[in-house]
Subunit: 585 residues, 2 copies
Amino acid sequence: MYRTHTCGELTINNVNQSVTLSGWLQRSRDLGGLTFIDLRDRYGITQIVFNMETNALLCNEARKLGREFVISISGIVAERSSKNLKIPTGEIEIIAQKLTVLNQSVIPPFTIEDQSDGGDELRMKYRYLDLRRNPLKNNLQLRHNLSIFTRNYLNDLGFMEIETPYLIKSTPEGARDFVVPSRMNPNQFYALPQSPQTFKQILMVAGYDRYFQIVRCFRDEDLRADRQPEFTQIDCEMSFVEQEDILNIFEGLTRHLFVKVKDTDPGIFPRMTFADAMKYYGCDKPDIRFDMRIADLNELTQNSGFTVFDNAELVAGIAVPGCSEYTRKELDALTEWVKRPQIGATGLVYIKYNADQTLKSSVDKFFDPVSLKQIAEACGGQPGDLVLIMAGKENRTRKAIGELRLEMGNKLGLRNPDVFAPLWVVDFPLLEWDEETNRFYAMHHPFTSPKPEDETLLATDPGKVRANAYDLVINGVEVGGGSIRIHNKQLQREMFSVLGFTDEEAQHQFGFLLNAFEYGAPPHGGIAFGFDRLCSLFGGSESIRDFIAFPKNNSGRDMMIDSPSTINAMQLDELYLELKTPKSN
Amino acid sequence: MYRTHTCGELTINNVNQSVTLSGWLQRSRDLGGLTFIDLRDRYGITQIVFNMETNALLCNEARKLGREFVISISGIVAERSSKNLKIPTGEIEIIAQKLTVLNQSVIPPFTIEDQSDGGDELRMKYRYLDLRRNPLKNNLQLRHNLSIFTRNYLNDLGFMEIETPYLIKSTPEGARDFVVPSRMNPNQFYALPQSPQTFKQILMVAGYDRYFQIVRCFRDEDLRADRQPEFTQIDCEMSFVEQEDILNIFEGLTRHLFVKVKDTDPGIFPRMTFADAMKYYGCDKPDIRFDMRIADLNELTQNSGFTVFDNAELVAGIAVPGCSEYTRKELDALTEWVKRPQIGATGLVYIKYNADQTLKSSVDKFFDPVSLKQIAEACGGQPGDLVLIMAGKENRTRKAIGELRLEMGNKLGLRNPDVFAPLWVVDFPLLEWDEETNRFYAMHHPFTSPKPEDETLLATDPGKVRANAYDLVINGVEVGGGSIRIHNKQLQREMFSVLGFTDEEAQHQFGFLLNAFEYGAPPHGGIAFGFDRLCSLFGGSESIRDFIAFPKNNSGRDMMIDSPSTINAMQLDELYLELKTPKSN
């Protein structure tokens, strides 16, 4: 028997009991007469004490133990003289009677503490040591809890979890697939799914009207920070529903998770159209923990003689509360910030709407105080606020001032990770035009249905068609997205045609879905949540990597197992493959 | 609103209510004045009635509907005059007031009935139609239930579900890997996991002492009936445990599933050593729903002058209860059965131990009645039984008579799929010798630990070493298997060396695990259940394919999506791959 209790459960109520604990040596302190060891397992830390006077042999053994040794201790629970009330076991210690070394450890390359001294690379390589630290342990426990709560919530509502295949078919539309050569079908390949989209729609055709799956997805994209080649989705689909049904069910799920995990009820989620999100927040995933909405200032700023405004497609501003006393230096720093390539603006205009109601601006020359006040108030500014204005091409300017708004929110501490502001963004456009390839792309995916009232525009003005598509945004992060799907074969064909597919291409890639639509497809729709991101959001972190047990680095490598790696010639032969030498750069 | 109720919930208590239902047209009967439609959804079937007298227009519309049309019906719930008490909704019908055709259907290629007229290939191709049938729907519901019950049971015991990566590293040991070329790391490959074995051991090193995962696994093997290239495991691992702890926990899980799903408690699972299983049942996964144990008859059968017995390494028999009156023809058929290549025996000897205590045998010439009786009773035979005896090389004979035992069990109806007889088989050998490659292979896998008392044999007589390894067998089916692992780096190295790995090979393939063992690996062990097989067992079926939503056929093809398939030249270029033409056969 390795243990009678864990290292997290003994309290003052267990005093005088004989116990056995097993775990890792977190730290030891040799005080001469007494040696203390903090013994750690998944559940906590318990102090063990060895007494040189009463048991010199055992105490000497204990002194030889190094950090991260795995040991088993038997002894008597005793009340501590100096208590640590910060941890549940802090009122007791174990007076050791027996010590067994279960395994030794060499000295770890970084400290196993909440704040580790290990760099990212080192921690990825020795992931098993990093995972011993409390922050990561708490993250994985949170992830487990979220998955259990999600499954039980959906199960209670009659959803069935149905596993869809991982070895599927490559479809060049959308992001790049990972492919898997087939040995039994020479020169043919499976693809790993970017999502179970078509399969869940097939399940709707098959009559499984409430489906979900917590499922791995794969995308072979160039990795940006915080993108992983494999990631997890909560994937859901329903039949005989309208958009409203789906929003309600999954708002319910999200609220349930907040209540269970964060002990907070965020109430009814507000809704915002895509058009309003772009107009007032400059992006399709507004962080509404704070207001500071973007105001269109074209009317108020024309014909002042300030050519930057006069020539701009859009002049837009925000009122930053309480910042009218920003110094020259601070304002210059903001200007530099918006000029960075990530934002790409050419400049920044300010109006200080001072507390004494006077106004001062970088465009004093062109606008009198009355005009400045009008502009400031159009932005919702009040005395004491700083109004920041940008101008230029509409899309780029909106995006830029949206970014500035978030930056000012950060500076003012308005983006508290412990505050949660969920939001439905609805009425997305069905299509977006790509200048480069000179064609429309599906904004969500080719299976999203147009709003019935916009359906006729599909033939005449496809860019104007709005979709029954929605995103769940929390704190400026897109947590989930979905749509009501096309269930009519004719409309699906029309959609493929707008997207530039020939009938043959559509049939080759999605024939099975189009065929399925011949046999009685019900109206249906669904949603998918990015589970890694949901976990990091609940965990109050921006890094999804810390919520994945074994993440890959930005080159798609698993540093711990050193993968991908070469395979041997026989494996290649069996797959009828030959390697080509990559061009050197 | 598509529906107020499902097609499975309306009863006599809902009479006179206005309701809306949506679903598929299962069948319709036109009786002139009345047209009846059976409307089907996931939850059941409800009868809809259209009355030509009261609403001719609607009734005429209803007559035009074809099988599998998707329709929505509004109407009033009424008590039926002729009730069908076999279904929950059989006491009522809906008097239709409104009919909406949501989608049409062409005529399905097979009937959507419990007993379909579709062949396997056709049903695989139109899987979405096959999945509409009750048997498959019930199978997937059972699978969902088993997964939910498993997760909650393990969660309640403090197990954490932790997702391990699907893009890992190829290890030539064991079965063949599916590989995934990496675009970002040219000429390198990921592999899809055959199991998360090394990752779950890494998690134990990381301190996650109770892990589980319901997880997909992949093996690129030539497919036999009922093998799938991707399959699902309930994968579990624990730290600070001995074999006894693991057997208890997972016996508890299995019993819980029986109670929840089958409403039956199979009680304490018996245990049997591998040696006894082979000796008494001729295989390592005995079906103990019936006895009919194999008896060794060498001593009783020597020196009779019957050279087949005299020259045999093993003479073994079983007593088949109540079959002493088998005819010549039946006995000949049995002899033919054991001579088939799958069994490969050269012949079969019988002794009829008649009800009147007389004996008749195919070897009367060599054995007197006293000897025959001795032999029959050594097999446990009683008057009325038929004793069947085989002889030859030990291993092959044991296996053959084990197969004959199962066949006789089938014939006698002793293998009732509604009776469940779980069994732990323990004390597996650590290694098995392969004549062809002239080396030892790990019987479970290279991480299985020898029994401590056998450890010294590893250097002197490896074939004799028993492992702390165990299988859970139910009704002759291996449902799960696992072992206590090696946690000591030195012992792990020794094991690799016995398996013929050089230090370099071991380091290249499993270096990350050996490295992890340097940093305080706890004692640990685990088990994995074949989830597809568990589902089929609970479902009383031998085919796992019927418990997988989208299975592949014996060539590893998904008939529905027509995959694997070719990929385009650009995809190959990006992956630095070239195809080789396979040799024609």
